[in-house]
């Protein structure tokens, strides 16, 4: 059977659609099927994600129309406009350079802009301590609200010890 569309290649995709009891059949070759959008062989979600992102950044863009000759990231040369077009950040430095504009975007995407997960051991020593401190404070609140005073006292002592360590490292 030849492809219904190009009438050249053999049909390899057979589509039966039933809409309101109306049955239609189409027989297409791989390339025509892909063109017709009947089948996608991609495993990744690949829709125009940038368009969404642009929408999400809309307000921050609108607020900054005067930035025509906007400064670029000194490390990779990305401007915020470039980011708006591609949806991709250029380098780690961009997160600092565009920090105040990325922060609301991260909050819109993730509901928060504050990382609470893994911290790299290398160069993350102090950070890891502060992260642990945040975790412990959360634990303390939880224990207090559940009236688990024994555990709360233990966590409080741990917090004190940790705070001591952090200030000693600062000094």
């Amino acid at each position: 059977m030849l492809c219904d569309d190009c009438k050249e290649k053999p049909a390899s995709v057979h589509i039966t659609k039933i809409v309101n009891n109306q049955k239609t059949e189409r027989h297409l070759c791989d390339s025509c099927a892909e063109k017709a959008g009947e089948l996608s062989f991609s495993t990744e979600v690949n829709f125009a994600f940038q368009d969404f992102l642009k929408g999400m950044m809309g307000s921050s863009f609108a607020a900054l129309p005067q930035h025509k000759s906007e400064a670029a990231c000194p490390s990779c040369g990305l401007t915020y406009g470039d980011f708006g077009r591609s949806g991709k950040i250029g380098c780690g430095e961009c997160y600092t350079v565009y920090g105040d504009r990325l922060e609301p975007l991260l909050r819109r995407i993730h509901g928060t802009s504050c990382h609470t997960g893994k911290v790299p051991r290398r160069g993350g020593g102090k950070l890891a301590l502060r992260q642990r401190l945040r975790q412990l404070k959360g634990d303390l609140d939880r224990h207090v609200s559940r009236e688990e005073y024994e555990q709360a006292a233990r966590v409080r002592d741990e917090i004190k010890a940790l705070e001591g360590r952090i200030s000693a490292e600062k000094g």
Partner: protein
């Protein structure tokens, strides 16, 4: 061990089955996105920089092997023909994007393909671990260990509040995308799948069909993954996904039971017909193969068909994909018609290995 072995053999550990809830959960996967500090991300880096990144990572391949007694290979993608890259995509070892063009992309892959690291994809590193069954904990432990080993030599771009820095802000924070691949034929048959998809979406997870968009998944296979990567710890994300996946598994079990009770005869007829077509078809499209294989697998899981290994289904999911078939054919070009014939032949041969107790 060469990349050829990995390409020719259909079996990765997840395809052999095993693992918790293996009758419904095909595999669990964890992916970590990482970038080297002070180096532009792949999208903004020049060729020389990317080559240097690949060179740096190459130096760590030995460390990985020494740590877990497996062999790790380093493959430069531009040395691999397009067809072989596509096979790696079909085997879920790399992303379609990574197979696309040559930007000094490379792949580090463990001999059993349970660990793979894409180098210079959207981020400098995408560490990916794939294990059979519902076992996100193990997949995460594996990915975390690989991350630690790499981190011992390389400094990753990290920010106190934004976490691990990634090219796309949707991955920032943990850089972690965890997912489970589920076979949900009964939820589809009983038209409950949309309800499940809606519920999972409301709980902050993404659901999509395998090899396809939209809710109509080919072969009734769905992937559920976390959407949010920032603000929750890796463990919380894993626990959340694991809990919801377990709920979906439970729902699928209930639907299977209901089907068995209410329409046992129709169901038995359906799965045996599917088995019959697969056993005797001389030409079969990829999509038809997937949906019939799904029914046969359901029949095996419900013990309507006995004597045939369930893992056959997992294997055929990969070996009946177009690029893998072409690789087996060993020729540059095969026509779609020839491919459909080859697919039918491969399925017939595989099903012959196990004789069902009809």
């Amino acid at each position: 061990m060469t990349i050829e072995n990995l390409l020719d053999k259909p079996l990765s550990p997840w395809m052999k089955g095993g693992g918790p809830d293996e009758d419904i959960v095909l595999s669990s996967r964890v992916r970590l996105a990482r970038n080297l500090e002070d180096v532009p991300f792949p999208g903004r880096a020049d060729g020389q920089t990317l080559a240097a990144v690949a060179g740096e990572i190459r130096k760590s391949v030995g460390d990985l092997g020494a740590a877990d007694k497996h062999v790790y290979m380093f493959v430069e993608m531009d040395k691999l023909p397009q067809l072989e890259r596509n096979v790696l995509v079909e085997k879920h070892i790399i992303s379609p994007h990574h197979a696309d063009d040559d930007g000094h992309r490379a792949l580090v892959v463990r001999d059993d393909a349970a660990v793979s690291i894409m180098v210079n994809e959207e981020d400098h590193l995408r560490i990916q671990c794939l294990v059979p069954g519902l076992n996100l904990q193990e997949a995460f432990a594996l990915a975390n260990r690989v991350d630690d080993l790499l981190e011992a030599k390389h400094t990753f771009a990290f920010h106190e509040s934004a976490g691990y820095l990634t090219a796309c802000p949707t991955n920032a924070g943990t850089g972690m995308r965890a997912s489970v691949m589920l076979h949900l034929p009964a939820l589809v048959l009983t038209s409950q799948i949309n309800r499940i998809v809606a519920a999972a979406t409301q709980l902050g997870l993404a659901v999509r069909g395998l090899y396809g968009e939209g809710t109509e998944a080919i072969g009734n296979i769905f992937q559920i993954s976390n959407q949010i990567t920032l603000g929750h710890s890796e463990q919380d994300i894993i626990d959340n996904l694991q809990t919801i996946a377990r709920q979906v598994v439970q729902q699928e079990r209930v639907a299977r039971e209901a089907l068995t009770k209410k329409s046992a005869d129709a169901l038995a007829d359906r799965v045996w017909r599917a088995y019959g077509v697969l056993c005797y078809a001389r030409s079969i499209s990829g999509q038809e193969a997937m949906s019939l294989l799904s029914e046969v697998r359901l029949g095996i899981d419900l013990e309507l068909i006995t004597g045939v290994e369930a893992a056959v289904f997992n294997e055929l999911l990969v070996t009946t994909r177009p690029n893998f078939l072409q690789k087996i054919a060993g020729r540059e070009e095969i026509s779609p018609g020839e491919r459909d014939r080859l697919r039918a032949q491969l399925i017939r041969e595989k099903l012959k290995e196990g004789k069902p107790d009809a």
